[in-house]
């Protein structure tokens, strides 16, 4: 089977259990089993080639520009691991079918399990280290789901998060390491990297890469000081513990170290980091394991200890140690998975896995007793089981290892580790199965159904037969796997049970005797242990996480607490600072424009402007006053435009000013008359300071611009030259607005239109809520003028209306050649209508308004857009204008331009937008009983009978 298919199979198969669970638990587990079986068979079809020493490869291009490709290869090491993953996977699937209870969502379980399986297979088959990283992180994610499978258990959730955090951190470090490594080697493909030993070890980046990669391996394989997540991951269902946390996932780190062994191992750094970590882990975890009462916790620490053992062997850097490591990987997987499963059986049948509540199970559960005993003895390193052989090989290696020129320290510590290892193994047998039978157990006890014991029984059989016939059963695979690790330096491997009486055997005997002694005196030692104060990893981890979360929360909430003034202050200072940096880093010529002398007009204007601005600052808390002064400022600016020969701008500014002031007055009607004080003291000083530097900054920039002639010639000359010939108008400003940059205008009328409908939408939203009630019950702050719609004003505005509209039309039509245009005309027309609203009241005016303002806005935008589109029919770009001169007697020759049509769109959009805004704001003031039928409060015609008729007559 192709390796790509092999790697993809578990992922593809992962959907089936989740779907088939609807057809029952057997269908679900059967599907998972089938998928795994097919993958296993597929793997085995490649096995003969690998056993012959070939390397099977499969390649698919994925992201070649980065060097990330779906390149797979299968060599001895990969075959060993893939075989373990899929083989034990099969056993676990069988076991889990009978382990999980009816309440557990089994479909999810198998789906997660297959996802995990796929990720693991991916790791061991990857040729590309970036691809390996992908699968690596996937194992973290899928194990997160599996550990948290019993989501109702807090330990499960916390354990899952802890595992994800720790292994995730390692994985991230590894990303960095792999990227560095690939850069040194010039490729991310292992087949290339593994040939670059000299280049890699000579590189100055070797140490960083090594440390980062080892961080990944150590966290995954639970090496000290990252070991603490593994015991907490035991909150997972036991099949998960047996599969992930003893047989496969935790070995991913070992796999990686073995994989990288040819290029990374052999240096002092490798030896001291890897071997030391392994040794420390092995001893520490073995000691802790002895004192754990939870069966799974005991096994968890024992796993950590054995992982440390293998790590240490890999760290030694000698080929023989690598062989021992590979062999122990196999042995550990068999006996530890069997032990986990039997612990699960005990838990399942007895209802507890607390050693203190167990004991005397040997007669009640004979089968479990036999299996557990054999596996435990293998773990303790007793002959004739497989654990013995690899442990002897390990002890043999420690004798040849010097640690900082100290020849015996490694051997002694390894023996100590072996002592405790033997001790906890014996304890597992003695305190669970031996001893007196108890009066009562949480559940009635008996051996389980075959579905539960078949899997461990198979593994236990392996433990025995590999121990008895290592040469026949294991030599071949160990040979090719070790050959792959060492790059062939291990030569041909010979495995045998009995090496004669030698130093390692003596060390073993010492370890076993001391182990027995430790169990003999367990109660006393336990007392000492319990009295001692020990650092508790989970407490520390939780404290760190809590502190980190708390700190994050504090930082986030403090910085983002919604204080706009502070946000704006930061914006201002940052902008000013960078602006200043940019300015001071560049060069500039001296101001080269001649300053003009002010005349009396400009001086008066200047004083008005500055004076009114100063007044605004002084009186800004009185909102009405502020508005009036704002009007003065606007007026002065209009005057300034006019003085500087920009009549279009002046007209626009003036009409905009009128409309805004009216709208603001309307809004002020609903607001408090005074702005609340902004605070005093330092706060005020700060605000004044900020305002001052902001103002000075902008002023400085303007001065710098205005006091210099442009460095380069502006494009505006073109507009002056082509306004009449190309745009058909002599008013360049208008031609720019509707033609040269008509597209900008198009955008701006849309902005105006959107603004109006947003105001409408806000009004609707607000009036929908509780605000409405408050508005309805609102009492005006002071008595209203009795005459809401004064007669004089009503009459005057009525008269004014046609005149104002005529002015608007006039301004509109002259716009193309003289100051004016659709925008200004729109504002003037809007003012004409607003006057009616003001004088005669909202209801009266609205009743006479036949076209909804939404529609007017829409039509304006549409007319502008359609005018623009018209050019397409002449195969010209959007908004291309056309104009021509027509003579219709008796009129004089006049101009027709599409630009005028566009300007009509502008006109309508402006009128609609202003009026919709006004209408929306007015709705706040609406109160019941406000509908006035008459235009005036004092109706001059009220005595003449039918009011309706009078209305109609107007």
């Amino acid at each position: 089977m192709s390796l790509i298919l092999l790697a993809a199979l578990p992922f593809l198969g992962a959907v089936f259990p989740a779907l088939l669970i609807r057809a029952g638990r057997d269908a679900s587990s059967g599907a998972a089993g089938m998928v795994t079986l097919i993958a296993f068979v597929g793997l085995m079809t490649n096995a003969p080639a690998v056993m012959r020493g070939e390397v099977v490869t499969a390649q698919l291009s994925w992201l070649p520009s980065l060097g990330l490709n779906a390149h797979f290869f299968l060599d001895g090491l990969g075959l060993l691991f893939a075989g373990l993953i899929l083989g034990i996977g099969l056993l676990i699937i069988l076991y889990a079918r009978y382990y999980l209870s009816r309440e557990d969502p089994m479909g999810q379980f198998y789906t997660y399990l297959l996802l995990f399986q796929g990720a693991m297979v991916g790791i061991v088959l990857s040729d590309n280290i970036l691809l390996l990283l992908v699968f690596w992180e996937l194992t973290s994610l899928s194990s997160f789901l599996l550990i948290g499978y019993w989501r109702h258990l807090p330990e499960g959730r916390q354990g899952a998060r802890m595992a994800l955090t720790v292994t995730g951190a390692g994985g991230l470090a590894m990303i960095g390491g792999m990227l560095i490594l690939g850069n040194i080697a010039g490729s991310y493909d292992l087949s290339v990297i593994l040939t670059q030993k000299d280049a890699i070890q000579a590189s100055p980046m070797y140490i960083p890469a090594l440390i980062l990669i080892l961080l990944g391996a150590f966290t995954k394989s639970a090496q000290f000081p990252f070991h603490f997540w593994l015991p907490h991951a035991m909150a997972a269902p036991t099949p998960v513990s047996a599969y992930l946390h003893s047989a496969t996932m935790v070995k991913a780190g070992l796999f990686l170290m073995a994989r990288m062994w040819p290029v990374l191992a052999g240096t002092d750094a490798w030896f001291y980091i890897v071997a030391t970590t392994g040794l420390v882990t092995m001893v520490t975890a073995a000691v802790i394991a002895l004192f754990k009462d939870d069966l799974k916790a005991l096994l968890a620490f024992s796993t950590v200890s054995h992982l440390g053992l293998i790590t240490m062997l890999l760290g030694f850097g000698t080929p023989y140690a690598a062989v021992a490591a590979v062999f122990h990987i196999i042995n550990h997987a068999t006996f530890k998975a069997a032990l986990f499963m039997s612990a699960g059986i005990i838990d399942h049948e007895a209802g507890t896995r607390d050693i203190k509540q167990l004991g005397g199970l040997r007669t009640l559960m004979p089968l479990t007793f036999v299996m557990s005993t054999i596996a435990s003895l293998s773990m303790a390193g007793l002959p004739p089981f497989n654990g013995f052989i690899s442990k002897e090989m390990m002890l043999e290696q420690t004798l040849h290892t010097e640690w900082y020129s100290n020849p015996w320290i490694v051997a002694v510590l390894a023996t100590v580790g072996a002592m405790f290892s033997a001790a906890y193994s014996f304890r597992y047998i003695a305190h669970v199965f031996l001893g007196p039978k108890r009066e009562s157990y949480p559940h009635s006890l008996h051996d389980p159904v075959p579905g539960l014991w078949l899997s461990p029984a198979f593994l236990v059989t392996l433990v025995v037969v590999i121990g008895l016939f290592p040469a026949t059963l294991a030599e071949g695979i160990v040979d090719v796997a070790a050959g792959a690790v060492t790059g062939g330096a291990s030569g041909h491997v010979h495995l045998k049970l009995w090496h004669g009486i030698n130093a390692p055997l003596m060390m073993s005997i010492v370890a076993i005797l001391v182990g027995l002694l430790l169990i003999w005196t367990y109660a006393r030692i336990r007392g000492v242990w319990d009295a001692a104060r020990r650092p508790e990893a989970k407490t520390m981890f939780d404290a760190v996480v809590r502190a980190l979360t708390g700190l994050s929360r504090a930082v986030t909430d403090t910085l983002h607490d919604g204080t706009v003034t502070r946000y704006a202050a930061i914006f201002l200072l940052f902008t000013l600072g960078l602006g200043w940096l940019a300015w001071s880093g560049g060069a500039t010529a001296a101001p080269d424009r001649v300053l003009l002398m002010g005349n009396s007009l400009t001086i008066v204007g200047w004083f008005c402007l500055v004076g009114s601005t100063a007044c605004l600052v002084a009186f800004h808390r009185n909102r009405l006053m502020a508005l009036v002064i704002l009007g003065v400022v606007g007026l002065m600016i209009s005057m300034m435009f006019n003085y500087l020969s920009a009549p279009d701008l002046a007209l626009t500014q003036l009409s905009v000013e009128v409309v805004t002031i009216i709208l603001l007055l309307l809004a002020l009607n609903f607001m408090p008359r005074e702005t609340p004080a902004e605070g005093a003291g330092l706060r005020q000083v700060r605000n004044v300071g900020l305002a001052a530097v902001g103002g000075l900054g902008v002023g400085g920039l303007m001065y710098a611009i205005l006091s210099r002639n442009p460095v380069m010639e502006s494009i505006s000359q073109y507009h002056l030259d082509n306004s009449y010939s190309g745009g058909g108008g002599t008013n360049v400003v208008n031609v720019i607005l509707v033609d040269f940059r008509g597209y900008d205008t198009f955008g701006e009328i849309i902005v105006l239109g959107i603004a109006a409908i947003v105001i409408f939408a806000i009004t609707e939203a607000i009036l929908d809520g509780p605000v409405r009630a408050r508005l309805l019950n609102r009492k005006p702050p002071e008595p209203r003028a009795g005459d809401t719609h004064p007669l004089m004003m009503v009459v005057a505005t009525r008269v004014m209306m046609p005149i104002a509209l005529m002015v608007a039309a006039y301004i509109f039509f002259r716009g193309h050649n003289l100051p004016g245009g659709g925008f200004i005309a729109g504002l003037v027309a809007a003012i004409a209508v607003i006057m009616q609203y003001m004088a005669s009241g909202f209801s009266w005016a609205a009743a006479r308004q036949r076209f909804p303002y939404h529609g007017i806005i829409g039509s304006g935008v549409l007319i502008a857009a359609v005018t623009g589109l018209g050019a397409w029919f002449n195969d010209l770009p959007f908004l291309t204008s056309a104009f021509g001169y027509v003579t219709i007697p008796p009129l004089e020759k006049f101009e027709l331009a599409t630009a005028a049509l566009f300007d009509l769109g502008v006109f309508l959009a402006v009128v609609g937008a202003v009026m919709l805004a006004l209408e929306s704001l007015s709705r706040y003031a609406w109160q019941p009983g406000m509908v006035s039928e008459y235009p005036m409060d004092i109706n001059p015609v009220r005595d003449d009978g039918d009011a309706e008729e009078q209305e109609g007559a107007q």
């Binding site: 996937l138 991230l172 980190l548 380069m712 494009i715 959007f878």
Partner: protein, 519 residues
């Protein structure tokens, strides 16, 4: 004459007023037209993308005025990609908005949505700096309207802050444009590029100020620290589909930076040398950090997504601010990814919030449809945190690879990797609290009536009863897009690299615009 270029702007610009004028009281019709229009936008964008595949740069001279005197639209690979991304995102978001009935909780959702699309499309297509300002205004005002859609005091307050802060940005935009125009006398981007390159070094000060101010404007839009403050409240309080659409709004800032600071103030321009990347890069790193800290530190789901968005902008800006073709290529890939992922996260968050009735990250509500939503959340979290197997991981690898030779690369790498961990922790915490932890009645608080919440579907039961498929379809569609980006990473990256290459062939752009021949 190739009118396709203007179509993404004109179509929504016609559709929105049409909806306003004719069918503003007919929600069903609005939905049909809005969805059809957006689907058409996808097709148009596909055509545009197809036109740029050969590496051509298309220019459209509005009003038939020659550049640089009129306004030009320019279509190159970058703008076409952005348009396509916008259209695809908009379609998914719109389907969600219709399916979840968000669009009926206030006025004028569909016209505003179309205007918003017009603004975004216009910004991506224009070749004129002032016109960019105009479209910034269009999209700002439309986004404000969308943001406060459905109202409620909290949302209105957040909206006010949003609009105030962005108006500061608009003002600054005008200052920047004024300064640039005062120095160079032009606003056409290609022409600006030519003139900036010719500017005598002893006249550089004003131009430098203009360049920096302009960059700050874009940084506000892109939510770069310390100009990001507007984002968390705005995004977390906006209606979910709108927040999801806003995933493209920050990208408008990123796009503008890419465009202006490769074309006009590119890395080889003498007068602005050392002015841009030197502070943008550290600022981007800090943005990433503050985003991830926020993800871990927040107690609200909306803010979780908002800070996730900030973090992704940080990563994106890191890739942009090295200003190399490799970095820009990585940025292109990451940009598309992060837009889709951010949008998806907001939509999933809304699926949760709709069913919970509040947006606290706690186990105080029983969640219906737990499994499916939990899976979607898991996928969105994986995408945002940049874990495999989704495109975020590839994007992160690309960014790491592209910053290998940048100054302070070790720090950048450390920041990216460590923040990833913080983000993983944050998402794992939120996910396990929301989906794993059993219902805890003691956590239920009597809250004052919250007008931010939907008027219908206040209780979980009601939501279960209707549980429309469309929102799931839309969210799932975004996930499919992310998966496609992952599987097709090779071709996608070739495209991204070609796009980046084109950005650094500035002369091609200039020739296309100023060379005269407009097709």
């Amino acid at each position: 004459m190739n009118h396709w270029i203007i179509a993404p702007v004109v179509l929504p610009a016609l559709l929105a007023p049409f909806i306003l004028m004719v069918i503003r009281y007919h929600l069903d019709l609005q939905r049909i037209f809005s969805i059809a229009g957006t689907a058409a936008l996808v097709l148009i964008s596909l055509v545009l993308t197809g036109q740029t595949l050969g590496g051509d740069i298309h220019v459209y001279e509005l009003g038939d005025w020659p550049a640089p005197f009129g306004i030009v639209l320019v279509l190159d690979r970058l703008s076409a990609t952005m348009c396509l991304l916008t259209a695809v995102l908009a379609l998914a978001v719109l389907l969600y908005a219709v399916g979840s009935k968000w669009d009926e909780r206030g006025w004028h959702f569909h016209p505003l949505f179309q205007f918003q699309l017009m603004g975004v499309m216009g910004a991506f297509l224009t070749g004129d700096a002032f016109n960019l300002f105009v479209f910034f205004e269009v999209l700002l005002i439309a986004s404000y309207g969308l943001m406060i859609h459905a109202g409620g005091p909290v949302r209105l307050r957040a909206g006010l802050q949003y609009v105030i802060y962005n108006l500061l940005g608009s003002t600054l935009f005008l200052f920047a444009l004024g300064t640039l125009y005062a120095v160079t006398g032009t606003l056409n981007m290609a022409d600006l590029a030519v003139r900036v390159a010719e500017l005598p070094a002893d006249q550089s000060a004003l131009l430098r100020v203009g360049a920096v101010l302009l960059l700050l404007v874009f940084c506000i839009k892109a939510a770069v620290l310390p100009l990001h403050f507007w984002l968390p409240a705005a995004y977390s309080n906006a209606p979910a589909p709108v927040a999801a659409l806003f995933a493209i709004m920050t990208k408008v800032g990123a796009y503008s930076i890419l465009r202006m600071y490769t074309l006009v103030f590119g890395p080889e321009v003498g007068v602005t040398e050392g002015l841009i990347g030197t502070w943008l890069l550290p600022a981007a790193v800090l943005t990433l950090i503050i985003g991830c800290i926020g993800v871990l530190g927040t107690r609200k789901l909306g803010r979780l997504a908002a800070f996730g968005a900030i973090a992704s902008m940080g990563t994106l800006l890191i890739a942009i601010s090295v200003f190399t073709p490799a970095g820009t290529g990585a940025a292109m890939y990451y940009l598309v990814h992060s837009t889709l992922a951010t949008a998806m996260l907001f939509l999933v968050a809304d699926l949760v919030i709709e069913r919970r009735g509040n947006d606290r990250i706690a186990s105080d509500v029983k969640l219906p449809q737990n499994g499916l939503i939990a899976s979607l959340f898991f996928a969105a979290a994986i995408a945002m945190a940049g874990m495999p197997p989704l495109s975020g991981f590839l994007g992160k690898l690309l960014v790491l690879d592209a910053t290998r030779d940048a100054p302070g690369a070790a720090w950048i790498w450390a920041a990216i990797l460590i923040t990833s961990l913080i983000m993983i922790m944050g998402f794992a915490r939120a996910g396990s609290l929301l989906f794993w932890k059993p219902f805890d009645p003691s956590l239920v608080e009597d809250e004052p009536v919250d007008h931010q919440m939907p008027k219908t579907g206040k209780t979980a039961e009601v939501v279960t009863a209707r549980a429309p498929a469309l929102p799931f379809l839309a969210t799932g569609g975004l996930l499919v897009a992310l998966i496609a980006m992952t599987v097709l990473a090779g071709p996608a990256m070739n495209y991204a690299n070609a796009t980046a290459q084109q950005l650094y062939q500035q002369q091609d752009y200039i020739n296309a615009v100023l060379g005269g021949a407009s097709e």
